[in-house]
Symmetry: C2
Subunit: 157 residues, 2 copies
């Protein structure tokens, strides 16, 4: 294998340095914030698979806070879990956007949700809304939400 | 002035390095996130002084998104401003908490708001709620919100 000439090496090193510096100084790239989209999507799948309350308990940081519409703030993972019992409907959601800090420790997702209440006749009205979730990397490097809020939207046209 | 001996210099340098590393690896301190509390409080004062719509235009990033209760997402600073006209009431709020990324470029505040509709008889019912606002440091180092959402709360007891 032919060794790079010193000049070529400098060009390569300089290019690499510029690329690295560019990545570090710019806002988080789409691929970096994709980790939050993926985490939020996994959270949504868990809500379908094991119920909303259990999914929130799994993805909440210990000191998480929920800000539910029409109610006061709920502080703490266990308190959030208790406040969501019994699961009275099926909450599904889809993340639409995300951003991550340059340091990669704090970010957010937002998206749209649908809520279908369980009813005895099996036919529940669907309610629509949107949400904003703050994610914080935990000491074990997992992502857990620290704050979550949602509100109602009109039905899609 | 006496020069530091090489050993002393190493101890000083090492100590400084540990202190710096410690600062970088810990979560943001309360004093660091206080900048977001202060910015949000100034935002709230601007809403009282010059109206909600103008204050939102002043503190929104150009590509900001609002997620208003009962409505669809509103994207863009100018669109947010337009959506809030005419100011039909007085919105006041108080930040209650904040957190900032280690890199100091992204963070959030949350708090409680009161909304009093302007009515012809001068007596408007107060509506209560809470909010979550994402803040991002702009290229000129100012803090502007990039996402804002709120929802209703019960009246205080």
């Amino acid at each position: 294998m032919q060794l790079l000439k010193p000049f070529s090496f400098c060009v390569v090193a300089l290019t690499f340095g510029v690329v690295v510096a560019g990545c570090r100084s710019s806002a988080s790239t789409q691929s970096e914030s994709q980790i939050l989209i993926d985490t939020d999507a996994a959270f949504a799948r868990a809500a379908v698979a094991s119920g909303t309350a259990r999914a929130f308990r799994k993805y909440a940081a210990p000191d998480a806070m929920a800000l539910p519409q029409g109610a006061n703030p709920v502080r703490g993972r266990d308190q959030i879990f208790q406040s969501m019992l019994p699961d009275s409907g099926q909450l599904t959601w889809t993340p639409r956007g995300a951003d991550l800090s340059k340091s990669g420790d704090l970010g957010y997702t937002w998206g749209e949700y649908q809520y279908r209440a369980f009813e005895t006749n099996g036919i529940g009205a669907i309610r629509y809304g949107k949400y904003l979730t703050i994610w914080k990397k935990q000491p074990d490097h997992s992502w857990r939400f620290v704050t979550d809020i949602g509100n109602s939207s009109p039905p899609p046209k």
